[in-house]
């Protein structure tokens, strides 16, 4: 394990019945780093995020945050330690306003009104602060999902297909927001199908297939790797 790693995942496995969703996945992430996690559908990317964030408990393997094992902690304890996530389908508290969504998330991070205002600004949500989350469109709900995760002061943010469904202008703006978050020292593990979007964010990716890592390196190198080509185009 690299001593400077913020997140260290070792030989993580998770089965659903006979299906091995994760099969010995290992990866590391340093503070402020953006790591892309790519692979075909069913390769285990979202399961990896679900296990690291605590939605599922791993069958075996370890998850450490700054060397501290967190794999057996419930979701809220992991959140308080600095692990948070966004969802492929955003899940804001729909009955609450945008501002109230952030106020709820601020309960345990002790974020104040200035922090909430700053994050509303950072994610272009200030004009929508008093709107009920139910009335937001998909792109706005994704930004709210991200803002709500950020207000808990994460050190590791797990980002699940944030680019899906966004138009080119929204993708560019979202990439700028994620880069700004990473520059503040937050490590990002980004699951993404849109490789153009991912290329803007990072040069380092882990490619998964059948719950395992099959490649780690740059996106350009991945595009030339025979195992990656086989997984994406060879079946």
């Amino acid at each position: 394990m690299c001593p400077s790693a913020l997140l260290s995942v070792e030989r993580l496995s998770k089965r659903f019945g006979a299906f091995a969703a994760l099969d010995g996945l290992s990866l590391e992430l340093a503070p402020g780093e953006i790591l892309g996690l790519v692979g075909p559908n069913g390769s285990g990317k979202t399961t990896a995020i679900n296990v690291i964030s605590g939605v599922y408990t791993a069958d075996s393997g370890t998850i450490r945050l700054e060397g501290r094992p967190v794999g057996n902690l419930p979701i809220h304890r992991r959140t308080r330690l600095g692990i948070n996530r966004t969802f492929q389908v955003p899940k804001p508290f729909k009955a609450l306003t945008v501002a109230e969504n952030l106020e709820v998330a601020a309960v345990h991070s002790n974020a104040g009104r200035e922090d909430i205002a700053r994050h509303l600004d950072l994610l272009d949500l200030s004009p929508l602060a008093d709107r009920q989350a139910l009335t937001l469109n998909s792109a706005q709900q994704k930004r709210l999902d991200l803002a709500r995760a950020m207000i808990t002061r994460p050190r590791l943010l797990l980002v699940d297909e944030l680019g899906a469904g966004l138009n080119p202008a929204e993708l560019t703006r979202m990439a700028q927001m994620l880069q700004e978050i990473a520059r503040s020292g937050v490590a990002l593990l980004v699951v993404e199908h849109l490789l153009g979007f991912l290329r803007v964010l990072t040069s380092r990716v882990v490619v998964m297939d059948a719950g395992r890592e099959i490649f780690e390196g740059s996106l350009e190198a991945a595009a030339k790797d025979s195992r990656v080509i086989d997984v994406f185009f060879g079946h």
Binding site: V55, H76, T79, R80, P90, L96, S138
Partner: protein, 291 residues
């Protein structure tokens, strides 16, 4: 006559709002219908009655004891039952069976402990002079019950909308998983909500001898039915909708008692059917679009 009916409906509406509020709070947080809700109200009624007969204590002063005892009972009940229930494959059906069983056990134990006789606390404990309200006169006990109910409803509003715990509670109502994702200890918040729910029921129980005429071990099922009607009328899972539901029920009850008393017992069922036919989400319910 109409002015009296409307005024009395308002007083009883506030009382039934309080009686049902705990049931809706618990449903909102846990998505479980507490079929033993009315039995906890009955226990609250007997605790107040016991304090009155043993120590001559005014039910008003029994409320702090009710709140402490039933908050504690709610937290214990939550940790003993609910996490395992929610982790089961069919929590809704299992909760129906389990809470119905709990209701029956509480009623049976109450019969053993208190007997089957109906009991009452004389409303003259608050004085024998009636109170004038909107030009009509009412027993002081009715007005005190309604005033305490209004204060309790206000306290729940402040708890839900102006406290950190309230924000957390509303987040859990919206989504348990998402709430956990913001760092909220969902089980702790839910246990407190069940405690608050039972404490509200018990507080309503303290005044049930005045508002329902008498108390007995078998009153629980009737209260649960009325409370369920009230929260469906207002909006299931929306505690503040309960106030509207309570007022509709209270006014309806008083009109029935005034003009067709022999039909009054049908009211909760009629309102339940009507509201489910014309607006299943309740008067304050929202149609939520699921993405």
């Amino acid at each position: 006559m109409i002015a009296y009916t409307l005024s009395a409906g308002l007083l009883f509406g506030l009382y039934f709002s309080l009686a049902a509020l705990g049931l809706n709070l618990v449903f909102g947080v846990m998505r479980l219908i507490n079929l033993a809700h009315g039995d906890f109200l009955m226990l609250g009624a007997f605790l107040a009655y016991g304090l009155y007969t043993v120590a001559g204590l005014n039910p008003l002063y029994a409320i702090p004891a009710e709140v402490v005892v039933f908050m504690f009972a709610g937290v214990i009940l939550y940790y003993a039952v609910v996490p395992r229930l929610l982790a089961s494959h069919n929590p809704e059906m299992l909760s129906f069976i389990l809470l119905f069983g709990l209701s029956q056990i509480i009623e049976a134990l109450a019969v053993i402990a208190f007997g089957n006789d109906e009991r009452a606390i004389p409303s003259t404990i608050y004085g024998s002079r009636p109170v004038s309200l909107f030009g009509q006169t009412f027993p002081v006990a009715w007005v005190v019950s309604a005033a305490v109910s209004a204060l309790a409803l206000l306290a729940v509003y402040l708890y839900l909308h102006h406290s950190r715990l309230g924000y957390a509670t509303r987040a859990v109502m919206a989504s348990r998983d998402e709430a956990a994702g913001t760092g909220i200890n969902v089980h702790r918040v839910s246990a407190i909500a069940l405690g608050v729910g039972l404490a509200l029921a018990a507080t309503a129980g303290a005044f049930s001898a005045f508002m329902l005429g008498s108390i007995g071990p078998d009153m629980g099922i009737h209260i649960t039915t009325v409370s369920f009607a009230v929260i469906v009328i207002g909006s299931l899972g929306n505690p503040l909708g309960t106030v509207l539901g309570g007022l509709v029920y209270g006014l309806g009850l008083m009109f029935m008692e005034t003009y067709h008393p022999s039909w009054a017992d049908l009211l909760p069922f009629v309102l339940l059917i009507v509201i489910l036919l014309i607006r299943p989400s309740g008067l304050l319910g929202q149609r939520v679009r699921l993405a």
